[in-house]
């Protein structure tokens, strides 16, 4: 059994979102959906977290920030792009300052579609991310052995 599946701590970053998806992410933590059932804690600190949830698209300003935050997460880690904006830039895609979805900057493991993405979908995304996390952990251990 891999403990990482039991205790995925998350970290939420708001790109250039319209705030719709953010509210839905927060809704997951509220009593109605209570994502802590799965051991998820919203840490607010990349160094403590395993899952990076990004809502909204990437723009020129936050590009470096997203890269830095991603770099500060310890392995194993997954990135979930929440909402259409995070997937492709969404309705902001054509704006002068928008680079596009999260995958323009950092590798994304999972996309949760929707505008806004529904809490159920987000939770589903997180749960699916657990398997990816576990897979990454296994690979990491193997890598360590061969190293």
């Amino acid at each position: 059994m891999s403990f990482i599946k039991k205790s995925p701590w998350m970290f939420h970053y708001d790109g250039s979102s319209c705030n719709g998806c953010d509210i839905e992410v927060l809704a997951c933590l509220m009593p109605m959906y209570d994502i802590e059932r799965f051991g998820v804690i919203n840490t607010g600190n990349p160094k403590h977290s395993d899952i990076l949830l990004i809502t909204g698209s990437i723009n020129r300003q936050n590009e470096d920030v997203v890269k830095t935050l991603y770099g500060q997460m310890g392995n194993p880690k997954v990135v979930i792009a929440i909402g259409t904006c995070a997937a492709s830039g969404g309705i902001f895609a054509e704006c002068y300052n928008i680079l596009g979805g999260v995958n323009t900057t950092i590798p994304v493991d999972l996309y949760v579609p929707g505008c806004a993405a529904r809490p159920e979908a987000i939770i589903d995304g997180v749960i699916q991310a657990l398997d990816i996390l576990e897979e990454k952990q296994k690979q990491r251990k193997k890598g360590k052995v061969t190293k």
Binding site: F3, P31, D34, E36, R37, D50, G74, N75
Partner: protein, 286 residues
């Protein structure tokens, strides 16, 4: 000698289990108070084991080292307590451990950690006087600083030391870093200091801090138990009740500013704790 040895080993081995379980229950009770379901009871253990499996992120070469010392000193402090050693020494070792955590945070030179460290210092400044004072109070009644002697004292200590007990319960919230006194770091999501004193610690380092927190909790609850040592069953009940109270307070209070914390804690220490001792000294002539 043998019993000392066994209690020490027992503390070192058992405290994390009990402490971890207590944290798990804490989280469930908290969730229920917020009408949520909450994580499984064993969640704290999952967290810690997970953290051990993560990358060992460090900011510099020093801070992990301070953390290891922090861990060891908490072990020393706790084992001395459960081995029935001198209570003052226990508290001093406990303070050393806390200082090491603060130094670890300072050594990162990170703004969040450092402010967390500074606030942790303020928390110490608020809480430690009461803890030391309760040691003095226990001494006045039992005539000994040794934990073993205090435990085996026949007198119902709580009857003599109600004020000291109240004061200790008050600062327990500060020591456990529960709301409204979770200034330096918090168990709860997202605050202005990110994670305060623990911001820069990741992976195994964070796991160590978590485990130390379990040890710490057991040690502090042990001190609460001392007041009811004349009746072990009652003692355990009270300890559980006090912890429940902490969780309740945690969930019903917003964080306060450090000034209020310092003032109120010192007020409680001087008036309730000190007042109790004065009554003991002048009225009961102990």
């Amino acid at each position: 000698m043998n019993t000392v040895f066994y209690t020490t080993i027992g503390y070192i081995l058992l405290a994390p289990f009990v402490g971890g379980l207590l944290m798990g229950l804490d989280r469930i009770v908290t969730a229920r108070m917020q009408s949520r379901v909450g994580p499984p009871v064993l969640q704290p253990f999952y967290d810690v084991f997970k953290l051990f499996g993560k990358d060992k992120l460090t900011v510099n070469q020093f801070h992990n080292y301070y953390l290891v010392c922090f861990f060891i000193f908490i072990l020393v402090s706790g084992s001395m307590f459960f081995a029935g050693n001198d209570l003052l020494m226990v508290i001093f070792a406990f303070i050393v451990a806390d200082v090491l955590l603060i130094l670890a945070a300072y050594s990162t030179n990170s703004p969040y950690s450092s402010i967390g460290a500074e606030r942790e210092l303020l928390q110490m400044l608020s809480a430690e006087p009461m803890i030391l004072l309760s040691a003095v109070g226990l001494y006045m009644v039992t005539g000994s600083f040794k934990v073993s002697a205090i435990v085996s004292c026949e007198k119902p200590l709580i009857v003599y030391l109600p004020g000291v007990f109240l004061g200790l319960t008050y600062v327990l919230t500060i020591k456990l870093r529960k709301s409204p006194f979770d200034l330096s770091t918090s168990h709860h999501a997202h605050q202005e200091l990110v994670k305060g004193i623990t911001t820069e610690f990741a992976g195994p380092a964070l796991a160590v801090i978590e485990i130390v927190h379990w040890y710490e909790t057991i040690l502090l609850l042990g001190m609460i138990y001392l007041f009811f040592a004349f009746n072990p069953v009652l003692g355990v009940v009270v300890v559980v009740f006090v912890y429940f109270l902490e969780v309740l307070v945690d969930n019903t209070n917003a964080r306060i500013k450090w000034e209020l914390m310092l003032k109120s804690a010192w007020m409680v220490t001087i008036i309730v704790g000190g007042g109790n001792l004065f009554v003991l000294y002048y009225v009961l002539r102990l």
